[in-house]
Symmetry: C2
Subunit: 311 residues, 2 copies
Protein backbone atom coordinates (compact mmCIF):
# COMPACT_ATOMS: atom_id res chain seq x y z
CA UNK A 1 0.00 0.00 0.00
CA UNK A 2 1.18 3.48 -0.94
CA UNK A 3 -0.51 6.27 0.97
CA UNK A 4 -0.69 9.82 -0.32
CA UNK A 5 -1.73 12.93 1.58
CA UNK A 6 -3.70 14.87 -0.98
CA UNK A 7 -5.38 18.17 -1.70
CA UNK A 8 -7.02 18.85 -5.05
CA UNK A 9 -5.57 19.37 -8.51
CA UNK A 10 -1.87 19.13 -7.59
CA UNK A 11 -2.55 15.87 -5.81
CA UNK A 12 -4.66 14.60 -8.71
CA UNK A 13 -1.79 15.18 -11.14
CA UNK A 14 0.64 13.50 -8.77
CA UNK A 15 -1.68 10.51 -8.25
CA UNK A 16 -2.10 10.12 -11.98
CA UNK A 17 1.66 9.69 -12.20
CA UNK A 18 1.79 7.32 -9.24
CA UNK A 19 -0.86 5.10 -10.86
CA UNK A 20 1.52 4.66 -13.81
CA UNK A 21 4.10 3.24 -11.43
CA UNK A 22 2.20 1.10 -8.90
CA UNK A 23 -1.12 -0.80 -9.15
CA UNK A 24 -4.13 1.36 -8.39
CA UNK A 25 -5.41 -1.16 -5.85
CA UNK A 26 -2.31 -0.46 -3.74
CA UNK A 27 -2.86 3.31 -3.65
CA UNK A 28 -4.73 5.09 -0.88
CA UNK A 29 -5.16 8.86 -0.92
CA UNK A 30 -6.09 10.65 2.29
CA UNK A 31 -7.89 13.73 1.04
CA UNK A 32 -8.48 17.16 2.55
CA UNK A 33 -12.12 17.88 3.34
CA UNK A 34 -11.68 21.34 4.89
CA UNK A 35 -12.73 22.94 1.58
CA UNK A 36 -16.02 21.03 1.57
CA UNK A 37 -19.13 23.15 1.61
CA UNK A 38 -22.89 22.97 1.49
CA UNK A 39 -24.66 24.93 -1.24
CA UNK A 40 -28.41 24.64 -1.82
CA UNK A 41 -28.41 21.83 0.72
CA UNK A 42 -25.93 19.85 -1.37
CA UNK A 43 -22.69 18.56 0.09
CA UNK A 44 -19.80 19.46 -2.19
CA UNK A 45 -16.29 18.02 -1.77
CA UNK A 46 -14.03 19.86 -4.19
CA UNK A 47 -10.81 17.95 -3.49
CA UNK A 48 -12.35 14.48 -3.53
CA UNK A 49 -14.20 15.33 -6.73
CA UNK A 50 -11.25 16.94 -8.49
CA UNK A 51 -9.15 13.85 -7.86
CA UNK A 52 -11.96 11.54 -8.95
CA UNK A 53 -12.64 13.43 -12.17
CA UNK A 54 -8.93 13.71 -13.00
CA UNK A 55 -8.21 10.04 -12.49
CA UNK A 56 -11.37 8.98 -14.33
CA UNK A 57 -10.30 11.11 -17.29
CA UNK A 58 -13.45 13.24 -17.13
CA UNK A 59 -11.99 16.43 -15.69
CA UNK A 60 -12.54 19.70 -17.55
CA UNK A 61 -9.27 20.05 -19.49
CA UNK A 62 -8.89 23.82 -19.19
CA UNK A 63 -10.28 24.39 -15.68
CA UNK A 64 -8.53 21.27 -14.33
CA UNK A 65 -11.51 20.84 -11.95
CA UNK A 66 -15.15 20.01 -12.62
CA UNK A 67 -16.37 17.86 -15.48
CA UNK A 68 -15.42 17.86 -19.13
CA UNK A 69 -18.25 18.53 -21.59
CA UNK A 70 -20.05 20.25 -18.76
CA UNK A 71 -23.27 22.24 -19.12
CA UNK A 72 -24.72 24.81 -16.72
CA UNK A 73 -28.47 24.67 -17.21
CA UNK A 74 -29.22 24.36 -13.51
CA UNK A 75 -26.86 27.18 -12.56
CA UNK A 76 -28.28 29.54 -15.15
CA UNK A 77 -31.82 28.79 -13.95
CA UNK A 78 -30.74 29.47 -10.38
CA UNK A 79 -29.98 33.06 -11.33
CA UNK A 80 -33.74 33.54 -11.72
CA UNK A 81 -33.98 33.14 -7.95
CA UNK A 82 -31.38 35.80 -7.30
CA UNK A 83 -28.63 33.52 -6.07
CA UNK A 84 -25.09 34.81 -6.20
CA UNK A 85 -23.52 32.48 -8.76
CA UNK A 86 -20.07 32.61 -7.13
CA UNK A 87 -19.67 28.87 -6.74
CA UNK A 88 -19.96 27.13 -10.09
CA UNK A 89 -22.22 24.11 -10.15
CA UNK A 90 -22.08 22.26 -13.45
CA UNK A 91 -24.90 19.89 -14.33
CA UNK A 92 -22.76 16.74 -14.48
CA UNK A 93 -20.94 17.72 -11.32
CA UNK A 94 -24.30 18.26 -9.60
CA UNK A 95 -25.16 14.60 -10.02
CA UNK A 96 -22.19 13.69 -7.83
CA UNK A 97 -23.34 16.15 -5.17
CA UNK A 98 -26.90 14.86 -5.33
CA UNK A 99 -25.78 11.27 -4.90
CA UNK A 100 -23.54 12.21 -2.01
CA UNK A 101 -26.14 14.37 -0.28
CA UNK A 102 -28.79 11.75 -0.71
CA UNK A 103 -26.63 8.96 0.72
CA UNK A 104 -25.36 11.09 3.59
CA UNK A 105 -28.97 12.00 4.34
CA UNK A 106 -29.60 8.28 4.71
CA UNK A 107 -26.81 8.17 7.27
CA UNK A 108 -23.93 6.90 5.14
CA UNK A 109 -20.59 8.40 6.21
CA UNK A 110 -18.64 10.44 3.68
CA UNK A 111 -15.99 7.74 3.43
CA UNK A 112 -18.58 5.16 2.36
CA UNK A 113 -20.11 7.51 -0.17
CA UNK A 114 -16.68 8.41 -1.51
CA UNK A 115 -16.10 4.72 -2.21
CA UNK A 116 -19.39 4.62 -4.10
CA UNK A 117 -18.40 7.63 -6.15
CA UNK A 118 -14.98 6.28 -7.10
CA UNK A 119 -16.61 2.93 -7.96
CA UNK A 120 -19.13 4.74 -10.15
CA UNK A 121 -16.23 6.33 -12.02
CA UNK A 122 -14.41 3.02 -12.36
CA UNK A 123 -11.44 3.90 -10.15
CA UNK A 124 -9.47 1.21 -8.36
CA UNK A 125 -7.53 3.39 -5.95
CA UNK A 126 -9.04 4.17 -2.58
CA UNK A 127 -9.87 7.76 -1.67
CA UNK A 128 -10.35 8.39 2.02
CA UNK A 129 -11.61 11.70 3.36
CA UNK A 130 -9.32 12.76 6.21
CA UNK A 131 -12.40 12.60 8.44
CA UNK A 132 -16.08 11.71 8.22
CA UNK A 133 -16.83 14.38 10.78
CA UNK A 134 -17.93 17.94 10.06
CA UNK A 135 -14.92 20.19 9.72
CA UNK A 136 -14.35 23.30 7.65
CA UNK A 137 -11.43 25.53 6.90
CA UNK A 138 -12.05 29.05 8.16
CA UNK A 139 -9.96 31.97 6.99
CA UNK A 140 -9.48 35.06 9.13
CA UNK A 141 -8.65 38.11 7.03
CA UNK A 142 -6.68 41.20 7.99
CA UNK A 143 -9.91 43.22 7.91
CA UNK A 144 -11.25 40.96 10.65
CA UNK A 145 -13.63 38.76 8.68
CA UNK A 146 -14.10 35.03 9.23
CA UNK A 147 -14.70 33.31 5.88
CA UNK A 148 -15.25 29.75 4.71
CA UNK A 149 -12.27 28.76 2.60
CA UNK A 150 -14.41 28.79 -0.56
CA UNK A 151 -15.73 32.27 0.22
CA UNK A 152 -12.13 33.44 0.50
CA UNK A 153 -10.79 31.58 -2.51
CA UNK A 154 -13.66 31.40 -4.98
CA UNK A 155 -16.03 34.21 -4.07
CA UNK A 156 -13.30 36.73 -3.14
CA UNK A 157 -10.75 35.25 -5.56
CA UNK A 158 -8.14 34.90 -2.83
CA UNK A 159 -7.66 38.66 -2.63
CA UNK A 160 -8.02 39.36 1.12
CA UNK A 161 -4.88 39.25 3.21
CA UNK A 162 -4.98 36.21 5.49
CA UNK A 163 -3.94 36.40 9.11
CA UNK A 164 -4.88 32.88 10.22
CA UNK A 165 -6.35 29.59 9.10
CA UNK A 166 -8.32 27.25 11.34
CA UNK A 167 -9.98 23.89 10.79
CA UNK A 168 -13.26 24.49 12.60
CA UNK A 169 -14.67 21.34 14.17
CA UNK A 170 -11.28 19.67 14.31
CA UNK A 171 -11.44 19.35 18.09
CA UNK A 172 -14.07 16.65 17.98
CA UNK A 173 -13.15 15.10 14.62
CA UNK A 174 -11.66 11.64 14.24
CA UNK A 175 -9.77 10.24 11.25
CA UNK A 176 -12.05 8.38 8.84
CA UNK A 177 -11.91 4.58 9.06
CA UNK A 178 -8.68 3.30 7.49
CA UNK A 179 -6.80 6.59 7.61
CA UNK A 180 -4.48 5.82 10.52
CA UNK A 181 -3.91 2.27 9.28
CA UNK A 182 -3.02 3.63 5.84
CA UNK A 183 -0.34 5.81 7.44
CA UNK A 184 1.08 3.06 9.63
CA UNK A 185 0.90 0.02 7.36
CA UNK A 186 2.01 1.53 4.02
CA UNK A 187 5.16 0.86 2.01
CA UNK A 188 5.61 4.60 2.02
CA UNK A 189 3.64 7.72 2.83
CA UNK A 190 3.86 10.35 0.12
CA UNK A 191 2.86 13.98 0.50
CA UNK A 192 1.49 15.43 -2.73
CA UNK A 193 2.58 18.93 -3.79
CA UNK A 194 -0.60 20.34 -2.30
CA UNK A 195 -1.11 23.49 -0.28
CA UNK A 196 0.77 23.10 3.04
CA UNK A 197 -1.77 25.27 4.86
CA UNK A 198 -5.26 24.56 3.52
CA UNK A 199 -4.73 21.05 2.10
CA UNK A 200 -1.99 19.17 3.95
CA UNK A 201 -2.26 21.41 7.03
CA UNK A 202 -5.98 20.80 7.42
CA UNK A 203 -5.53 17.03 7.03
CA UNK A 204 -2.97 17.16 9.86
CA UNK A 205 -5.37 19.10 12.08
CA UNK A 206 -7.64 16.07 12.39
CA UNK A 207 -6.58 14.63 15.75
CA UNK A 208 -4.63 11.43 15.32
CA UNK A 209 -3.30 12.04 11.82
CA UNK A 210 -0.27 14.15 12.74
CA UNK A 211 0.48 11.71 15.54
CA UNK A 212 0.31 8.80 13.10
CA UNK A 213 2.82 10.56 10.84
CA UNK A 214 5.11 11.06 13.82
CA UNK A 215 4.95 7.43 14.86
CA UNK A 216 4.67 5.61 11.54
CA UNK A 217 7.59 3.25 10.94
CA UNK A 218 7.50 3.91 7.19
CA UNK A 219 9.29 6.67 5.32
CA UNK A 220 7.35 9.87 4.67
CA UNK A 221 8.38 11.62 1.45
CA UNK A 222 6.92 14.84 0.15
CA UNK A 223 7.01 16.87 -3.03
CA UNK A 224 7.52 20.60 -2.70
CA UNK A 225 4.53 22.64 -3.86
CA UNK A 226 6.84 25.67 -4.04
CA UNK A 227 8.96 25.91 -7.18
CA UNK A 228 11.31 28.82 -7.78
CA UNK A 229 9.92 30.66 -4.77
CA UNK A 230 6.26 30.55 -5.78
CA UNK A 231 3.35 28.18 -6.26
CA UNK A 232 2.64 26.11 -9.34
CA UNK A 233 -1.05 26.92 -8.82
CA UNK A 234 -3.26 28.08 -5.97
CA UNK A 235 -2.47 30.46 -3.14
CA UNK A 236 0.03 28.73 -0.88
CA UNK A 237 2.46 31.65 -1.34
CA UNK A 238 -0.12 33.95 0.24
CA UNK A 239 -0.99 31.60 3.11
CA UNK A 240 2.47 30.43 4.15
CA UNK A 241 3.33 33.81 5.74
CA UNK A 242 0.22 33.43 7.95
CA UNK A 243 1.85 30.35 9.47
CA UNK A 244 5.32 31.98 9.60
CA UNK A 245 6.69 29.74 6.89
CA UNK A 246 9.12 30.88 4.21
CA UNK A 247 7.77 30.63 0.66
CA UNK A 248 10.41 28.25 -0.62
CA UNK A 249 10.98 24.54 -1.12
CA UNK A 250 13.24 24.65 1.92
CA UNK A 251 10.70 26.63 3.97
CA UNK A 252 7.94 24.05 3.49
CA UNK A 253 10.36 21.24 4.26
CA UNK A 254 11.25 22.98 7.50
CA UNK A 255 7.53 23.34 8.31
CA UNK A 256 7.06 19.58 7.73
CA UNK A 257 10.38 18.44 9.22
CA UNK A 258 9.06 16.99 12.47
CA UNK A 259 7.36 14.13 10.64
CA UNK A 260 9.02 14.26 7.19
CA UNK A 261 11.86 12.00 6.06
CA UNK A 262 12.42 12.91 2.43
CA UNK A 263 11.73 15.93 0.24
CA UNK A 264 11.63 16.16 -3.52
CA UNK A 265 12.31 19.59 -4.98
CA UNK A 266 12.28 20.95 -8.50
CA UNK A 267 15.34 21.30 -10.68
CA UNK A 268 15.08 25.09 -10.46
CA UNK A 269 15.54 24.81 -6.69
CA UNK A 270 18.55 22.50 -6.92
CA UNK A 271 20.59 25.06 -4.96
CA UNK A 272 18.41 24.34 -1.90
CA UNK A 273 19.41 20.65 -1.81
CA UNK A 274 22.00 21.19 0.90
CA UNK A 275 19.65 23.40 2.92
CA UNK A 276 17.02 20.65 2.89
CA UNK A 277 19.55 18.00 3.90
CA UNK A 278 20.72 20.33 6.66
CA UNK A 279 17.22 19.96 8.12
CA UNK A 280 17.96 16.27 8.56
CA UNK A 281 15.95 15.20 5.51
CA UNK A 282 16.90 13.18 2.46
CA UNK A 283 16.50 15.29 -0.64
CA UNK A 284 16.03 14.51 -4.32
CA UNK A 285 15.98 17.00 -7.19
CA UNK A 286 13.92 16.39 -10.32
CA UNK A 287 11.33 17.88 -12.66
CA UNK A 288 8.18 18.46 -10.57
CA UNK A 289 6.19 20.37 -13.21
CA UNK A 290 3.66 17.68 -14.06
CA UNK A 291 2.53 19.03 -17.40
CA UNK A 292 2.15 15.52 -18.73
CA UNK A 293 1.70 12.11 -17.21
CA UNK A 294 5.27 11.03 -18.03
CA UNK A 295 6.73 13.78 -15.83
CA UNK A 296 4.24 12.88 -13.09
CA UNK A 297 5.18 9.19 -13.35
CA UNK A 298 8.88 10.03 -13.18
CA UNK A 299 8.23 12.22 -10.15
CA UNK A 300 6.37 9.38 -8.44
CA UNK A 301 9.28 7.04 -9.21
CA UNK A 302 11.67 9.53 -7.65
CA UNK A 303 9.53 9.70 -4.50
CA UNK A 304 9.37 5.91 -4.22
CA UNK A 305 13.08 5.58 -4.87
CA UNK A 306 13.82 8.11 -2.15
CA UNK A 307 11.47 6.29 0.25
CA UNK A 308 13.02 2.90 -0.50
CA UNK A 309 16.51 4.31 0.02
CA UNK A 310 15.50 5.13 3.60
CA UNK A 311 14.00 1.82 4.65
CA UNK B 1 -60.26 37.75 -3.79
CA UNK B 2 -61.09 34.52 -5.57
CA UNK B 3 -59.84 31.42 -3.84
CA UNK B 4 -59.24 28.14 -5.66
CA UNK B 5 -58.61 24.72 -4.16
CA UNK B 6 -56.03 23.23 -6.49
CA UNK B 7 -54.13 20.09 -7.38
CA UNK B 8 -51.73 20.00 -10.31
CA UNK B 9 -52.32 20.14 -14.05
CA UNK B 10 -56.13 20.27 -14.02
CA UNK B 11 -55.98 23.14 -11.56
CA UNK B 12 -53.28 24.89 -13.60
CA UNK B 13 -55.48 24.80 -16.69
CA UNK B 14 -58.44 26.07 -14.70
CA UNK B 15 -56.39 28.88 -13.13
CA UNK B 16 -55.12 29.92 -16.53
CA UNK B 17 -58.74 30.44 -17.54
CA UNK B 18 -59.61 32.26 -14.33
CA UNK B 19 -56.73 34.68 -14.85
CA UNK B 20 -58.34 35.69 -18.14
CA UNK B 21 -61.46 36.70 -16.23
CA UNK B 22 -60.26 38.32 -12.99
CA UNK B 23 -57.03 40.18 -12.11
CA UNK B 24 -54.22 37.87 -11.06
CA UNK B 25 -53.66 39.84 -7.87
CA UNK B 26 -57.13 38.84 -6.72
CA UNK B 27 -56.52 35.12 -7.16
CA UNK B 28 -55.32 32.83 -4.39
CA UNK B 29 -54.79 29.12 -5.01
CA UNK B 30 -54.59 26.75 -2.06
CA UNK B 31 -52.47 23.93 -3.36
CA UNK B 32 -52.16 20.28 -2.40
CA UNK B 33 -48.79 19.35 -0.92
CA UNK B 34 -49.49 15.68 -0.18
CA UNK B 35 -47.65 14.69 -3.36
CA UNK B 36 -44.50 16.51 -2.27
CA UNK B 37 -41.44 14.36 -1.88
CA UNK B 38 -37.76 14.49 -1.07
CA UNK B 39 -35.36 13.03 -3.63
CA UNK B 40 -31.58 13.34 -3.25
CA UNK B 41 -32.24 15.64 -0.32
CA UNK B 42 -34.22 18.02 -2.54
CA UNK B 43 -37.74 19.08 -1.66
CA UNK B 44 -39.99 18.66 -4.69
CA UNK B 45 -43.53 20.07 -4.83
CA UNK B 46 -45.11 18.74 -8.03
CA UNK B 47 -48.46 20.54 -7.76
CA UNK B 48 -47.04 23.93 -6.81
CA UNK B 49 -44.47 23.64 -9.58
CA UNK B 50 -46.88 22.44 -12.26
CA UNK B 51 -49.14 25.39 -11.59
CA UNK B 52 -46.22 27.81 -11.55
CA UNK B 53 -44.76 26.52 -14.80
CA UNK B 54 -48.16 26.46 -16.52
CA UNK B 55 -49.06 29.98 -15.54
CA UNK B 56 -45.59 31.31 -16.37
CA UNK B 57 -45.86 29.77 -19.81
CA UNK B 58 -42.79 27.61 -19.32
CA UNK B 59 -44.46 24.23 -18.86
CA UNK B 60 -43.42 21.35 -21.09
CA UNK B 61 -46.11 21.41 -23.77
CA UNK B 62 -46.48 17.65 -24.26
CA UNK B 63 -45.93 16.45 -20.69
CA UNK B 64 -48.02 19.28 -19.24
CA UNK B 65 -45.69 19.23 -16.21
CA UNK B 66 -42.03 20.11 -15.82
CA UNK B 67 -40.22 22.71 -17.87
CA UNK B 68 -40.30 23.40 -21.60
CA UNK B 69 -36.95 23.14 -23.40
CA UNK B 70 -35.82 20.90 -20.59
CA UNK B 71 -32.57 18.94 -20.54
CA UNK B 72 -31.68 15.95 -18.38
CA UNK B 73 -27.93 16.08 -17.96
CA UNK B 74 -28.06 15.70 -14.17
CA UNK B 75 -30.53 12.81 -14.34
CA UNK B 76 -28.48 10.94 -16.93
CA UNK B 77 -25.36 11.39 -14.81
CA UNK B 78 -27.22 10.10 -11.77
CA UNK B 79 -27.67 6.76 -13.51
CA UNK B 80 -23.91 6.26 -13.09
CA UNK B 81 -24.58 5.97 -9.36
CA UNK B 82 -27.20 3.29 -9.82
CA UNK B 83 -30.20 5.39 -8.88
CA UNK B 84 -33.58 4.22 -10.04
CA UNK B 85 -34.53 7.01 -12.42
CA UNK B 86 -38.24 6.66 -11.70
CA UNK B 87 -38.82 10.27 -10.75
CA UNK B 88 -37.78 12.56 -13.58
CA UNK B 89 -35.65 15.50 -12.56
CA UNK B 90 -35.07 17.92 -15.40
CA UNK B 91 -32.17 20.34 -15.16
CA UNK B 92 -34.28 23.52 -15.23
CA UNK B 93 -36.77 22.00 -12.82
CA UNK B 94 -33.91 21.10 -10.48
CA UNK B 95 -33.05 24.76 -10.02
CA UNK B 96 -36.49 25.32 -8.45
CA UNK B 97 -35.94 22.39 -6.11
CA UNK B 98 -32.47 23.62 -5.19
CA UNK B 99 -33.74 27.09 -4.38
CA UNK B 100 -36.59 25.68 -2.31
CA UNK B 101 -34.41 23.20 -0.45
CA UNK B 102 -31.80 25.82 0.24
CA UNK B 103 -34.30 28.33 1.60
CA UNK B 104 -36.17 25.75 3.66
CA UNK B 105 -32.81 24.64 5.04
CA UNK B 106 -32.37 28.23 6.24
CA UNK B 107 -35.70 27.93 8.05
CA UNK B 108 -38.03 29.61 5.55
CA UNK B 109 -41.48 28.00 5.52
CA UNK B 110 -42.73 26.49 2.27
CA UNK B 111 -45.33 29.25 1.89
CA UNK B 112 -42.61 31.92 1.96
CA UNK B 113 -40.47 30.04 -0.52
CA UNK B 114 -43.47 29.46 -2.77
CA UNK B 115 -43.96 33.22 -2.92
CA UNK B 116 -40.32 33.61 -3.93
CA UNK B 117 -40.72 31.03 -6.66
CA UNK B 118 -43.85 32.60 -8.14
CA UNK B 119 -42.15 36.02 -7.97
CA UNK B 120 -39.15 34.59 -9.79
CA UNK B 121 -41.48 33.41 -12.54
CA UNK B 122 -43.26 36.76 -12.69
CA UNK B 123 -46.64 35.55 -11.45
CA UNK B 124 -49.05 37.90 -9.72
CA UNK B 125 -51.46 35.34 -8.28
CA UNK B 126 -50.77 33.96 -4.83
CA UNK B 127 -50.08 30.25 -4.42
CA UNK B 128 -50.46 28.96 -0.89
CA UNK B 129 -49.45 25.45 0.09
CA UNK B 130 -52.33 23.92 2.06
CA UNK B 131 -49.88 23.62 4.95
CA UNK B 132 -46.27 24.46 5.77
CA UNK B 133 -46.06 21.36 7.94
CA UNK B 134 -44.73 17.98 6.86
CA UNK B 135 -47.53 15.89 5.41
CA UNK B 136 -47.49 13.21 2.76
CA UNK B 137 -50.09 11.21 0.94
CA UNK B 138 -49.67 7.51 1.64
CA UNK B 139 -51.35 4.89 -0.48
CA UNK B 140 -52.26 1.48 0.89
CA UNK B 141 -52.47 -1.12 -1.85
CA UNK B 142 -54.54 -4.29 -1.97
CA UNK B 143 -51.32 -6.33 -1.64
CA UNK B 144 -50.72 -4.61 1.70
CA UNK B 145 -48.01 -2.14 0.77
CA UNK B 146 -47.77 1.40 2.08
CA UNK B 147 -46.45 3.69 -0.67
CA UNK B 148 -45.74 7.38 -1.02
CA UNK B 149 -48.18 8.79 -3.56
CA UNK B 150 -45.37 9.30 -6.08
CA UNK B 151 -44.18 5.75 -5.64
CA UNK B 152 -47.70 4.58 -6.43
CA UNK B 153 -48.35 6.98 -9.29
CA UNK B 154 -44.99 7.56 -10.94
CA UNK B 155 -42.83 4.60 -10.02
CA UNK B 156 -45.60 2.00 -10.21
CA UNK B 157 -47.55 3.93 -12.85
CA UNK B 158 -50.74 3.81 -10.80
CA UNK B 159 -51.14 0.10 -11.42
CA UNK B 160 -51.68 -1.27 -7.87
CA UNK B 161 -55.21 -1.49 -6.60
CA UNK B 162 -55.72 1.08 -3.85
CA UNK B 163 -57.59 0.26 -0.67
CA UNK B 164 -57.05 3.49 1.24
CA UNK B 165 -55.44 6.91 1.11
CA UNK B 166 -54.09 8.76 4.13
CA UNK B 167 -52.46 12.13 4.60
CA UNK B 168 -49.69 11.18 7.01
CA UNK B 169 -48.78 13.96 9.39
CA UNK B 170 -52.17 15.63 9.02
CA UNK B 171 -52.90 15.25 12.72
CA UNK B 172 -50.39 17.89 13.73
CA UNK B 173 -50.54 20.05 10.59
CA UNK B 174 -51.99 23.54 10.49
CA UNK B 175 -53.15 25.49 7.45
CA UNK B 176 -50.42 27.70 6.00
CA UNK B 177 -50.70 31.42 6.87
CA UNK B 178 -53.49 33.00 4.85
CA UNK B 179 -55.28 29.78 3.92
CA UNK B 180 -58.23 30.04 6.27
CA UNK B 181 -58.61 33.78 5.59
CA UNK B 182 -58.63 33.07 1.87
CA UNK B 183 -61.53 30.69 2.35
CA UNK B 184 -63.52 33.03 4.59
CA UNK B 185 -62.88 36.42 3.01
CA UNK B 186 -63.14 35.56 -0.68
CA UNK B 187 -65.74 36.63 -3.22
CA UNK B 188 -66.07 32.95 -3.99
CA UNK B 189 -64.27 29.71 -3.32
CA UNK B 190 -63.77 27.62 -6.43
CA UNK B 191 -62.79 23.96 -6.48
CA UNK B 192 -60.66 23.10 -9.50
CA UNK B 193 -61.37 19.87 -11.39
CA UNK B 194 -58.59 18.15 -9.47
CA UNK B 195 -58.48 14.68 -7.99
CA UNK B 196 -61.10 14.50 -5.19
CA UNK B 197 -59.01 12.00 -3.26
CA UNK B 198 -55.33 12.87 -3.59
CA UNK B 199 -55.60 16.60 -4.43
CA UNK B 200 -58.74 18.15 -2.98
CA UNK B 201 -59.15 15.39 -0.38
CA UNK B 202 -55.64 15.85 0.99
CA UNK B 203 -56.10 19.63 1.20
CA UNK B 204 -59.24 19.04 3.27
CA UNK B 205 -57.37 16.69 5.60
CA UNK B 206 -55.33 19.58 6.98
CA UNK B 207 -57.19 20.40 10.20
CA UNK B 208 -59.09 23.67 9.90
CA UNK B 209 -59.53 23.71 6.12
CA UNK B 210 -62.63 21.54 5.91
CA UNK B 211 -64.09 23.44 8.85
CA UNK B 212 -63.43 26.76 7.07
CA UNK B 213 -65.27 25.45 4.01
CA UNK B 214 -68.20 24.47 6.21
CA UNK B 215 -68.40 27.84 7.90
CA UNK B 216 -67.39 30.22 5.11
CA UNK B 217 -70.16 32.70 4.26
CA UNK B 218 -69.14 32.73 0.59
CA UNK B 219 -70.38 30.38 -2.11
CA UNK B 220 -68.24 27.32 -2.82
CA UNK B 221 -68.44 26.21 -6.45
CA UNK B 222 -66.61 23.25 -7.91
CA UNK B 223 -65.90 21.82 -11.34
CA UNK B 224 -66.36 18.11 -11.82
CA UNK B 225 -63.13 16.25 -12.58
CA UNK B 226 -65.24 13.36 -13.84
CA UNK B 227 -66.55 13.73 -17.37
CA UNK B 228 -68.61 11.02 -19.03
CA UNK B 229 -67.93 8.62 -16.17
CA UNK B 230 -64.14 8.85 -16.25
CA UNK B 231 -61.27 11.21 -15.60
CA UNK B 232 -59.91 13.80 -17.99
CA UNK B 233 -56.44 12.84 -16.78
CA UNK B 234 -54.94 11.16 -13.74
CA UNK B 235 -56.30 8.32 -11.65
CA UNK B 236 -59.32 9.65 -9.76
CA UNK B 237 -61.49 6.91 -11.32
CA UNK B 238 -59.30 4.35 -9.61
CA UNK B 239 -59.19 6.09 -6.24
CA UNK B 240 -62.84 7.13 -5.85
CA UNK B 241 -63.92 3.52 -5.14
CA UNK B 242 -61.46 3.46 -2.25
CA UNK B 243 -63.49 6.24 -0.62
CA UNK B 244 -66.83 4.68 -1.61
CA UNK B 245 -67.58 7.38 -4.11
CA UNK B 246 -69.27 6.80 -7.44
CA UNK B 247 -67.12 7.65 -10.46
CA UNK B 248 -69.46 10.25 -11.89
CA UNK B 249 -69.99 14.01 -11.83
CA UNK B 250 -72.91 13.40 -9.47
CA UNK B 251 -70.87 11.05 -7.28
CA UNK B 252 -68.15 13.60 -6.62
CA UNK B 253 -70.77 16.29 -5.95
CA UNK B 254 -72.32 13.99 -3.38
CA UNK B 255 -68.91 13.43 -1.81
CA UNK B 256 -68.40 17.21 -1.57
CA UNK B 257 -72.02 18.13 -0.72
CA UNK B 258 -71.54 18.94 2.94
CA UNK B 259 -69.56 22.06 2.11
CA UNK B 260 -70.33 22.58 -1.60
CA UNK B 261 -72.90 25.06 -2.95
CA UNK B 262 -72.56 24.83 -6.71
CA UNK B 263 -71.28 22.23 -9.18
CA UNK B 264 -70.29 22.69 -12.78
CA UNK B 265 -70.51 19.60 -14.95
CA UNK B 266 -69.61 18.89 -18.54
CA UNK B 267 -72.08 18.98 -21.41
CA UNK B 268 -71.75 15.22 -21.82
CA UNK B 269 -73.08 14.82 -18.28
CA UNK B 270 -76.03 17.18 -18.77
CA UNK B 271 -78.40 14.36 -17.86
CA UNK B 272 -77.03 14.47 -14.29
CA UNK B 273 -78.13 18.10 -13.80
CA UNK B 274 -81.27 17.12 -11.93
CA UNK B 275 -79.39 14.54 -9.83
CA UNK B 276 -76.91 17.20 -8.74
CA UNK B 277 -79.68 19.68 -7.90
CA UNK B 278 -81.40 16.90 -5.97
CA UNK B 279 -78.35 16.94 -3.67
CA UNK B 280 -79.29 20.51 -2.77
CA UNK B 281 -76.65 22.07 -5.02
CA UNK B 282 -76.90 24.61 -7.78
CA UNK B 283 -75.70 23.10 -11.03
CA UNK B 284 -74.41 24.53 -14.31
CA UNK B 285 -73.61 22.61 -17.46
CA UNK B 286 -70.89 23.72 -19.86
CA UNK B 287 -67.78 22.63 -21.74
CA UNK B 288 -65.21 21.65 -19.11
CA UNK B 289 -62.59 20.20 -21.51
CA UNK B 290 -60.01 22.97 -21.22
CA UNK B 291 -58.08 22.22 -24.38
CA UNK B 292 -57.50 25.91 -24.94
CA UNK B 293 -57.51 28.98 -22.79
CA UNK B 294 -60.81 30.25 -24.20
CA UNK B 295 -62.67 27.18 -22.95
CA UNK B 296 -60.93 27.53 -19.59
CA UNK B 297 -61.89 31.21 -19.39
CA UNK B 298 -65.50 30.42 -20.25
CA UNK B 299 -65.53 27.68 -17.59
CA UNK B 300 -64.22 30.17 -15.03
CA UNK B 301 -66.93 32.64 -16.04
CA UNK B 302 -69.54 29.95 -15.56
CA UNK B 303 -68.20 29.18 -12.07
CA UNK B 304 -68.23 32.85 -11.08
CA UNK B 305 -71.69 33.34 -12.54
CA UNK B 306 -72.98 30.38 -10.55
CA UNK B 307 -71.30 31.71 -7.40
CA UNK B 308 -72.76 35.21 -7.87
CA UNK B 309 -76.20 33.77 -8.46
CA UNK B 310 -76.03 32.33 -4.95
CA UNK B 311 -74.90 35.38 -2.98
Amino acid sequence: MYTVLAGGVGAARFLRGLLEVVPAREVVAIVNVGDDLTRFGLRICPDLDSITYWLAGVVHPEQQWGRAEESHVVASELERFGHEPWFTLGDRDLATHLHRTSRMGEGAPLSTVTGEVTDAFGLDLRLLPATDDAVETRITTSDGRDLHFQEYWVRERGRPEVTSVQLAGAGSARPAPGVVEALIDAEAVLVAPSNPVVSIGTILEVPGIRAALHTTPVPVVGVSPIVGGTVVRGMAHRLLPAIDTEVSARGVAEHYREWLDGWVIDNVDAAQHADVEALGLSCAVTDTMMDDVEVAAELARTCLYLARSMR
